[in-house]
Symmetry: C2
Subunit: 372 residues, 2 copies
DNA sequence: CGGCCTTATTCAATCGTTTCAATGTTCAAT
DNA sequence: ATTGAACATTGAAACGATTGAATAAGGCCG
């Protein structure tokens, strides 16, 4: 454990614990627990309860400071009013805005998020899943941009009728809803921007194969390049290795940019797989005396919170992270309600539109006479 | 809601839901529910249970995939195995490492964190508190570096015997444990570093009055200055205004540094209240043509994750954020156990030691002949 | 052989809600 | 006057675990 300057002990603590139950409200108001329950939950039967009764009960409940016991309630009604929110690595700056989006949407529905972080470890993921099931979460949201988990998850969940949604990743098969950014469109957006600025010699640092985002982004790039007649020089294309460390993008961007510079092939712009990679690239460029954006434009992807704070601030393709969190909640809530009303419902897969955010790391290419 | 390219509807979904209860394990193993419970929880009475019986029951439970129902268990045993974790603004980069520390420690104890984010709003804080109480969290951890909440919290909690701890903030009064960094030591550390590097003309951007960290940091600075015979020029000291936006530090650092530069008083180093402020300051300096660290050293405070990624990377005073989260969990767990065993126990207040992290934003002062 | 301790297991009450079915009313319609 | 809705409320059985008290069967001792 951490050293810590003599902890100051302060005050004795003990105490009596008197929780107010529904029975108390019933006794105190002169009605039965059943009536109280019906009134306080505004259950269907509440239609028949006399307004004066309702008022009385509500008054008493408030005066006594009655708080329903979520556990007891669950036991009877099967509703825990909680949702599991699993991250594969909360340390990834990508996650914070998503978390906020999820939290906010759940809050609107008076659901409570149970937070789980797999630390990129499979067994930890499984253990958490177990814990979430024990706590009978009504739904599960999984945030990841890659995944080792297969059918196991799905089996356990759909057997128990728990609606799930993934963010930033799609389950193979058609059993779990998902919310992703349209990576292909994003890739196109970024390259289009550089192209419009007049860049023709562009270097690329592609994402790791493991990440589901990598391929479509590259596809978007290629498609645009093709349609615009832009040639992509294979000597200016590198691909990040697979890694579990969310900060490895920075490191990778740095090293690969050094590598690119050593190749002595001129490029006036660099497109990085994501923001962290871009930041690493900028660091390497700056160190090598290449000014950004004067001598080389750099564009990232994601628009994580630090991108606007970096120097120079980063031009990037924004994922609507908060909105994605929101949407995932709406999806699972829809599933929960469907289950409640014994309706059938359908899995859905969403691709959100990315958005180009132009900041200081890109500028128009300087015209050069010598090509190559 | 967000636009999203035609969501693809995929597959029908419905299903049967067969949960395995303890009764199932009992029937299937030929013993009674009581025995099963005793065995599976390794309760005191388990001492008397025949080893063969234990084995049998455990086998059956595993084979059936029995999962205890946390809610039902709570109802009888009063233990929810959950802890409320309240943030005042998860968007603050300060929070992520703390969250990880908390999550990790709870995981070790098989507790589940219920996540709450007050968004800096008092009513939201109160509503969440309500929800957490309804879910009967066994303890509460509050992460904040400032606060509007008063005795209300304390009253509700100690009445219900819920141990609480705050991180980054101390409750006035002596009823809630707390974990903080030793701000005074941190302030000293930072200034000491600049002083050792030979800086004598140092500008300061102090923290907002509202923040509990501001005063002690400044005190540490003053004390060191006094002991080292360093003079602090009041014309080089500014104080950030109060604000709820966690990113306002950057903005403030930027503006105040511009302001400082306009004053035409030379300074060779700048000490910012926190990392974001420092980053804002660096931005302003760079824009004004003052190179960091060549012409001006900058030091921050906190060591939030982006500080190592900025350009130049930031010299700063590290708060052991993850360890602080950890410690807070240990504290409340101790409280929970004490309550369980009807022991008395004591509130504690910790001040963790900060640590100087030297990176690229500081370097030795160039000797100048002209002073003033 | 009867009493007592130890071992092994079970009974049954309980936690705080929800909800189905039941019990009375009242009142309009046959 | 009888019926049957609609209204207003309640009794009591769940829900799935935990746990103190009870039961029962050996084993040991005097």
């Amino acid at each position: 454990m951490m050293q810590s300057e003599n902890p100051v002990l302060v005050k004795r603590h003990s105490g009596k614990n008197q929780t107010i139950t529904m029975r108390d409200v019933a006794n105190s108001s002169g009605f039965s627990p059943a009536t109280v329950s019906i009134v306080l939950n505004n259950a269907p039967l509440a239609r028949y309860i006399a307004p004066t009764t309702k008022k009385r009960i509500e008054e008493v409940a408030k005066k006594l400071g009655y708080r329903p016991n979520a556990m007891a309630r669950f036991l009877r009604s099967k509703r825990s009013h909680s949702v599991g929110v699993m991250f594969f690595d909360i340390t990834d700056p990508f996650c914070t805005p998503v978390l906020r989006g999820i939290e906010n949407a759940l809050y609107q529905s008076s659901y409570v998020p149970i937070f789980a972080d797999a630390h990129n470890q499979r067994n930890r993921f499984e253990r958490y899943l177990e814990m979430l099931l024990e706590h009978h979460v009504e739904a599960l949201i999984v945030v990841a941009n890659w995944l080792f988990v297969d059918i196991q998850l799905l089996a356990d969940l759909s057997k128990r009728n728990i609606t799930a949604a993934t963010i930033g990743w799609e389950m193979p098969g058609n059993d779990v809803s998902s919310v992703m950014v349209d990576n292909e469109a994003g890739g196109r957006l970024a390259l289009e921007h550089l192209h419009h600025l007049g860049h023709r010699k562009i270097a690329f640092i592609r994402g790791p194969k493991m990440l589901i985002d990598s391929a479509p982004r590259w596809k978007g790039i290629q498609k645009f390049a093709h349609s615009a007649g832009l040639e992509i020089d294979p000597a200016l294309v590198l691909q990040l290795p697979d890694s579990f460390d969310p900060n490895s993008g920075f490191e990778g961007g740095y090293r690969f940019t050094e590598e690119l510079l050593q190749r002595k092939k001129r490029f006036t712009a660099l497109m990085a797989f994501d923001d962290l990679t871009a930041l690493g690239a900028i660091r390497a460029l700056t160190k090598a005396g290449v000014k950004v954006p004067e001598n080389c434009s750099v564009v990232g992807f994601d628009d994580v919170p630090l991108s606007s704070l970096s120097a120079p601030s980063l031009t990037t393709v924004r994922q609507p992270l908060e909105a994605m969190g929101n949407l995932a909640v709406n999806i699972v809530m829809e599933g929960v309600n469907a289950g409640l009303e014994k309706r059938d419902w359908s899995i859905s897969r969403h691709k959100m539109n990315p958005e180009l955010v132009i900041r200081d790391s890109t500028q128009a290419a300087v015209l050069s006479s010598s090509d190559d």
